[in-house]
């Protein structure tokens, strides 16, 4: 099957779209290990990578996979690995080394329920791990959170460009729902695999100064200087790369903040207008790091309350609270362990919040 007609719509799972987009974005080196619910990435790569002249290896462990990505990225190529939550935990040391060596690459996490072996149902409980560092040391990966199959493909294209532009690992944070469901998808996103000059890459010191890719700075003061450089890069990313989608936030009584699968469910609440007496808006972060704090702060000055909906026990809500800084009440509704919030549950929560608030207002 060829999927390279830019004008054609294809019916694919999120996982297949993710793999195909990576290939069309110029990724020619993929290393993966089987784990549900992301196996379709591995199998799609096994079929399509050889057709594209690339390399796809099923490796012995998640550790080998992330370190092979390290090698291919150091050699100047576009490289990717994917896994699901327990496997992503195993990769964390490697991600820290990639960040510390300033190597561009893409890591896909199709989240499942945890902790431990958990289950294979959709979850958003790896938010902390993805946006707060995950591995050791002061670093960040850019984290992109799609909420449809089409957006998964589009963000994979962008992920490779972002990785090369900033010499930084980029994570696609999806979940079992997004990875497994089928939707139509078009692969027409612009991407520039060859527009990034990689004079730092390892190619052999032929007629040029040799290159070293490392994260080790044992001489006193050197590491602090390097960390300052990293932090300056992160500040630049924060100022330039924040992405979000805003729906009906203007004049809203309450704004929901949700990403990925949860954002889709919340959109249904808005679309079906199940709360005619309460104006509900939605703010959907697309970048989870850098986080859209500024817009959430602006919204918090105009609404009666904010509700964060997650498939976790309350992780992103901490960043919402930091952004709001007490300007309005921040409520949380979450399901864990593979539970998915239903529109009904979210509506119930919204009417609870607003009526409780009204009772307090009328009492005073």
């Amino acid at each position: 099957m060829t999927l390279t007609d830019k004008n054609k719509k294809y019916l694919l799972t999120g996982n297949e779209a993710c793999a195909e987009a990576a290939i069309q974005a110029g990724c020619r080196f993929y290393y993966g290990y089987p784990i549900t619910p992301q196996n379709e990435i591995l199998t799609h790569m096994a079929i399509r990578m050889p057709q594209a002249g690339g390399t796809s290896i099923q490796v012995e462990s998640e550790l080998a996979a992330i370190n092979m990505v390290h090698g291919s990225a150091a050699a100047g190529a576009r490289a990717m690995t994917s896994s699901s939550s327990p496997g992503i935990s195993l990769k964390q040391e490697g991600i820290s080394y990639l960040a510390g060596s300033e190597l561009p690459c893409v890591i896909v996490n199709v989240q499942r329920g945890g902790p431990g072996l958990g289950d294979i149902s959709p979850s958003q409980a790896d938010y902390f791990q993805a946006v707060k560092g995950g591995g050791h040391g002061d670093y960040h990966t850019i984290v992109l959170a799609p909420s449809s199959v089409q957006e998964t493909a589009d963000l994979v294209f962008d992920a490779f460009d972002l990785a090369d532009r900033y010499r930084n690992p980029v994570m696609i944070l999806g979940d079992a729902q997004l990875g497994q469901m089928m939707e139509s998808v078009v692969f027409n996103k612009k991407c520039e695999p060859n527009s990034f000059k990689k004079d730092w890459a390892l190619t052999g010191a032929n007629g040029k100064k040799r290159n070293i890719i490392k994260s080790f700075y044992p001489v006193r003061g050197e590491l602090e200087k390097f960390n300052a450089k990293l932090q300056a890069k992160y500040s630049l990313i924060k100022s330039k790369e924040v992405r979000y989608e805003e729906i009906n936030t203007e004049n809203a009584d309450i704004v929901i903040v949700a990403y990925g699968t949860c954002a889709r469910i919340c959109k249904e609440v808005l679309m079906k207008n199940k709360t005619p007496n309460i104006k509900v808006g939605l703010l959907r972060p697309i970048t989870l790091w850098p986080y859209p704090s500024q817009i959430i702060q602006e919204i918090s000055e105009k609404v009666r309350a904010i509700l964060t909906v997650e498939m976790s026990a309350g992780q992103m809500v901490e960043d919402v609270r930091l952004s709001v800084s007490g300007r309005c009440p921040v409520h949380f509704y979450g399901r864990t362990g593979g539970g998915i919030p239903s529109p009904k549950e979210i509506i119930r929560k919204i009417t609870e919040i607003i009526s409780v608030k009204e009772e307090i207002t009328s009492a005073t």
Binding site: N67, G71, L202, T203, K214
Partner: protein
């Protein structure tokens, strides 16, 4: 006057951080000499490990990639798949290769990745002050085996050449030492053979080098060399364990 002995072009002329009597300096010089003689500096990429040789790039003047502890074979695989015509080698100690990185070395050999591994076995964790390595001899005293390594508690020394020679994908596997000029010359020949294996695209090669660690063996340099010759070679016999040339 013609210089008959000098710092190899692929080596930076600087004092190393290695302890007195350490074997790393000898082995890294041999690698640099081979790179010069084969004139492959411009297409060689090395992988530096975590351990005493972590700063190998301060001495070998070639493109180099750091690797997390135990992962040089995975990093080397990632580089080699991008640059199949470049010469890729990893330089690893016994803790790195035979303990935390055992899975990577076995699977890399089994895929017969066309890379060369220089495995420096000094039977101890040097960088962290001398704990037991997987290759520590029975009854050998280290910081973590104060009464000597016990087979019952710690297992016996792990023989990597023997292990890898039964892996189908390995092509050239040899063990050598640096205890005498004769053995140093032999070591150079075997490492060169490893590079030739790769240049001729024959697949995975590994050269294990028994190397002295006088400081953490609590011995003089001379005693260390004797310890290798008299004790270490009993557990780790020298020789060629697998050779694609003689198999054909």
């Amino acid at each position: 006057m013609e210089a008959i002995y000098k710092t190899p072009d692929s080596m930076i002329d600087t004092p190393t951080h290695y302890c007195p009597g350490c074997g790393h300096g000898i082995i890294q010089r041999l690698i640099a000499e081979i790179i010069d003689e084969k004139d492959i500096r411009g297409k060689t990429i090395g992988i530096a490990p975590v351990g005493c040789a972590v700063l190998a790039y301060n001495y070998l003047d070639i493109d180099t990639c750091e690797a997390a502890h135990g992962r040089p074979p995975a990093v080397a695989t990632g580089i080699k798949r991008v640059h199949p015509d470049k010469i890729i080698f990893s330089y690893q100690g016994d803790g790195d290769l035979a303990a935390i990185g055992l899975s990577e070395i076995i699977h890399t050999a089994n895929r017969s990745e066309n890379i060369t591994v220089i495995f420096v076995n000094n039977a101890v964790y040097g960088m962290t002050n001398g704990q037991m390595a997987p290759t520590t001899l029975l009854n050998q005293k280290t910081l973590t085996t104060p009464q000597g390594r016990s087979e019952q508690c710690d297992g016996a020394p792990l023989r990597i050449c023997e292990l890898l020679s039964v892996v189908d994908g390995s092509r050239f596997i040899a063990r050598t030492s640096v205890t005498s000029p004769k053995n140093i010359i032999k070591t150079k020949q075997l490492i060169a053979k490893g590079f030739n294996t790769q240049i001729q695209k024959k697949g995975f090669s590994l050269i294990e080098v028994l190397s002295p660690c006088p400081v953490y063996w609590r011995m003089s340099s001379v005693e260390s060399m004797k310890f290798i010759d008299n004790e270490m070679t009993k557990a780790f016999p020298l020789g060629i364990f697998k050779d694609w040339e003689s198999q054909n």
